[in-house]
Symmetry: C2
Subunit: 253 residues, 2 copies
């Protein structure tokens, strides 16, 4: 069966793109046919994997906007044999306003995924830091949500608002649920990370993954090379943590 | 004369809220009558200053949505005599879609600011991590944009897209310009911060502030106390850096 995982949090900079990218690569390395979709207008997932967004002819923008009803869906091959990407581009920023006035605007992504669903074991989507139309489109089409949680106060405070939005969408997509919260950027040099981690485990219990992604500067360096940390620094503590995390995601099925 | 400063970057987690809050408090401490406006649906500026967003009756949501044409604008007093706040709230998230289909939607904030403009020396606005309608509203009404730049690759890559959006808006608001870029979260323990700082100074020259805000964990702890770092840890390196930064902003007038 095909699994749909959305990586989401409206708080900015919590590790959504980093988590989506490395999870996708890990699943492909474990022989799962995987599709990554980038619906963030910043296109960080697209450039972080080494694609040049100015050279791309077809992107998620064409899939979501009106005039491309019958075009093929651009699932681009990557360096990993079992990993494809539907890239984003800067013109995606205007699609939110274009879509806002169209009927059935929340269902566009869902219709697109239904066409390609049978080709993949996992489809993982990276979302922008907002609860607007693009993220709502993802929530209409998806089942599982993984929330990367930077171990800071504002990121923790963002979870209830995200839960409210999820509950609204469940009226249309009852399968939608939070399948896990992964703590990211754990900084051993101060207490804040420990205090926030304890608080989130107390509040959310079992759905918080055991694996915690540590603060690891090679993760922040890797986008400059257009590579996920798994490729850029495969023996780093960050890469090891993302492999453990992918293992946990696979076990939780 | 009244100065309008928008703190903006579509990259998430670069220090927009932290910069807006501490700049506002510094200006108020230097006897400038200052208004902070929070137009991020996350309402981090509002909660970071200690307000309970569930108790607020009037917020920026009411100012921007249709049916409140003639209501007074909610400029709430804060602990600082010369600092007021127009707070945000969670229902702001829906206003983007509500506004999308209305004519003149980009001008709503500008009209509101014109009503209160003569009461303040500075009006500073914190924007969400997006280039959507709420940020466009701010750009229509504002002149100066300060971009907080986390010293990471994705944050640096975000500047050209932001410049493109600014150039589009200048057709309607020719006064709009980037008045400065402030480097934030400088981490002395690795090279990445130094490399990115050098690259941004090379590319953007004079508009990059001399003051660099260091990584300082008390800044990340301060929202838990509902206080800006200037109040939470006034002698910290983070607080000192924000005071120096405010000095530079005042000198650049
Ligand atoms: N564990 C980590 N250690 C160090 N740096 C990290 C780590 N995880 C992510 N980063 C860096 O922190 C920044 C934020 O991460 P990322 O861009 O993945 O977050 P995001 O939630 O996708 O942001 P946005 O809200 O803008 O989409 C990036 O520059 C990234 O390289
Ligand atoms: N110099 C600093 N040192 C340490 N932590 C910082 C620093 N500046 C900001 N932070 C923390 O990093 C996180 C991101 O900062 P902040 O929320 O101000 O960014 P933002 O750009 O407003 O995010 P968003 O895109 O979600 O609006 C917050 O948890 C904040 O407390
Ligand atoms: Mg991202
Ligand atoms: Mg913010």
């Amino acid at each position: 069966i095909m699994r749909l995982i959305a990586i989401a949090s409206q708080k900015g900079g919590t590790g959504k793109t980093t988590t989506a990218m490395n999870l996708g690569v890990c699943l492909a390395e474990r022989n799962k046919k995987t599709l990554l979709i980038d619906i963030d207008p910043q296109a960080n997932l697209t450039t972080g994997l080494g694609f040049d967004m100015f050279e791309l002819k077809q992107t998620i923008y064409h899939v979501l906007s009106n005039h491309h009803e019958n075009m093929p869906i651009p699932c681009l091959p990557t360096r990993w044999p079992l990993l494809d990407l539907i890239p984003s581009s800067l013109d995606l920023a205007s699609v939110e306003l274009e879509m806002a006035s169209r009927v059935g605007r929340e269902w566009r992504l869902k219709k697109a995924i239904e066409i390609i669903a049978n080709q993949y074991d996992y489809i993982i989507i990276d979302t922008p830091p907002s609860l607007g139309l693009l993220t709502q489109n993802a929530f209409m089409a998806y089942e599982k949500i993984i929330i990367p949680l930077q171990l800071h106060v504002y990121a923790l405070k963002a979870i209830p608002q995200l839960q409210t939005t999820i509950n609204l969408i469940r009226e249309f997509n009852p399968a939608l649920h939070i399948s896990g919260i992964v703590c990211t950027m754990y900084d051993t040099r101060n207490n804040l990370s420990r205090v926030i981690e304890e608080s989130v485990r107390e509040k959310f219990g079992q759905i918080v993954y055991t694996t915690v992604i540590p603060m690891n500067i090679v993760i922040a360096e890797s986008p400059a090379a257009g590579k996920p940390v798994l490729e850029y620094a495969p023996n780093s503590i960050g890469a090891k943590a993302y492999r453990e995390f992918a293992e946990e995601v696979l076990l939780n099925e």
